[in-house]
């Protein structure tokens, strides 16, 4: 459906995207991860042709998007921030307006908008202009506009920004059902990695405009450490001794008196526990935590940079 082929973009000589290639198939929910300035928004804006990329190509249903804007009929977008709706209109009036801008109108579109409005919990705010809605409901209104005409591909740039836990859960349910029942594809950029983990079938990781990783969540997790042991305070000698006890895949960081070790399986830290017990070392802080996807992702990026 959507295919990026070696897309590159630079601003004043500084690269924003470097040879980025990936594709999205119908019904897929794909996450685009990366820190601020990694190129996520530039990627979304390139797909929407809001920026001119320098080289490479973007294909939609095998047709180059540079030569035609007809593919806009088949994409919906919720862009970053609250820049998606006319604040003077109600949510459904916005959805009708943007559907007709894409060339869709009639009873089917209206029925779809009404169904989605109910599903998004916007019925009770049906008479309010978007400017009078809360942040979460503004985001829902933007989503209603993006989904109203059932586009094949929906681009969501930071869709959970400012949303509470309940609304995020509702959003997950809607995206999942749209993908499975309507076969709509989603490309989602977000810093909320638990949100991504719950709904995405595939993950793309960008860093400084380069695609670091493309695969499913399980693959991404397999590349990252799952646990972290933190010990503090320790002397330099103790730190060195502990280092020698570790086997397998792990990563040690020592900051002043604090030792932090990331590793794959809980069994890997048993020799360290035994050592502490035998040497009667009782650090004030001794914690073993399962790493969240977010922490693990940050370490992956740091590792790649190193």
């Amino acid at each position: 459906m959507l295919e990026l082929q070696g897309v590159s973009k630079a601003y004043a000589g500084s690269p924003a995207l470097q040879d980025v290639s990936f594709s999205i198939e119908p019904g897929e929910i794909v996450a685009l991860l990366g820190a601020n300035g990694s190129g996520k928004t530039t990627t979304v804006q390139s797909i929407c042709r809001l920026i001119e990329w320098d080289s490479g190509d973007i294909l939609f249903n095998q047709n180059p998007t540079r030569s035609s804007t007809d593919y806009f009929r088949h994409i919906g977008a919720v862009l970053g921030g609250c820049r998606n709706t006319n604040w003077r209109l109600t949510a459904s009036a916005n959805a009708r307006y943007f559907a007709q801008v894409r060339g869709f109108k009639g009873s089917d579109v209206l029925a779809n908008i009404t169904r989605l409005q109910t599903q998004l919990g916007l019925d009770e705010h049906a008479q309010k202009e978007v400017m009078k809605l809360s942040t979460g409901n503004k985001q829902k209104a933007a989503l209603l506009s993006a989904l109203g005409y059932s586009p094949e591909l929906v681009l969501l740039d930071e869709p959970t920004l400012g949303l509470d836990f309940t609304t995020v859960n509702e959003l997950q349910t809607i995206i999942k059902s749209q993908a499975s029942e309507q076969h709509q594809s989603f490309l989602i950029t977000s810093h909320d990695l638990s949100f991504i983990e719950n709904i995405c079938t595939r993950v793309l990781v960008l860093d400084h405009g380069r695609l670091l990783f493309a695969g499913d969540i399980a693959e991404l997790k397999a590349q990252m450490f799952s646990h972290e042991l933190k010990l503090a305070p320790l002397t330099p000698a103790q730190m060195e001794s502990i280092h020698s006890l570790w086997e397998g895949r792990f990563q040690i960081r020592a900051d002043e008196q604090c030792l932090s070790i990331q590793f794959d399986t809980p069994a890997q830290c048993l020799p360290t526990m035994t050592y502490l017990h035998e040497q009667q070392i009782a650090p004030e802080h001794c914690t073993i935590n399962a790493l969240s996807v977010e922490q693990a992702y940050q370490h992956l990026v740091a590792e790649e940079r190193a």
């Binding site: 601003y11 530039t42 804006q45 929407c48 042709r49 809001l50 920026i51 001119e52 804007t69 007809d70 593919y71 806009f72 009929r73 994409i75 977008a77 862009l79 921030g81 609250c82 820049r83 998606n84 709706t85 006319n86 604040w87 003077r88 209109l89 009036a93 307006y97 943007f98 007709q100 801008v101 894409r102 060339g103 109108k105 202009e129 506009s145």
Partner: protein
Amino acid sequence: MKLHLITNELRLAWLEMRQYWFETVSAMIFILVMFIALFYGIKGFVLEDDGAQSLDGLVFGFLLWTFASGAYGSITKSVVEDTQRGYIEHLFLCPEGVVRLLLCRALADVLFSLAILTVVTYLVMWLTNTWLGINLLQFYAVLLLAAPSLVGLGLIIAGFALVFKKVETIGAFLSIGLMGLVALDGLPLNPLTFLPFVPGASLARDWVLNGQPLDYLSLLIVALNSAVYLAIGMKVFAVGEKAAKQRNLIGQY
């Protein structure tokens, strides 16, 4: 221009006007008050024999200027306000292209302007007791023929707005300049003919107000003037759009 885009923009204009009826009514009252102050101010000095004719010209000129300001401001207002209000990026996702969408919006605004102009015309004539013997259909036909030149001007300013963002000074300068443009005589062919909207305003005065026979050469001049300024406007906007997309400026404010 596509019909579905025009009906969509008409609906949007209607919804916004209905939603903000107070704004719509107060804008109309402002125009009326401004004109009445101007009218009675000038009337005090016009005591010659042709005084009545001067006042007719004044009323007619005011109506022309009201229309011209609306037609010129439609696109500029769209680009600047939608950048600030926050959904201009989505206008660029129109499959027919943003220029066509803006042209449809301008047409919708012009049609609404004509409706408002009709109300203002009769109110002005009633309040000033200066009844112009004009055929409104003829008047609107000339205005619609000449309006693309103003839309072209709007596209030029909107093209600048995409790149430079703050264009209020040029916009204000042009709004005042329109007062001069509607007063100039661009027919028959003379150097002033090449200014935007000038031949259109002249044709309206000659044919609609003064009852002179319709000259088809003048009609052609008005059409050419409109076509040239619209083409220039579309070109400047396209250049601005390309520059804004290269520098990632669409929507930045």
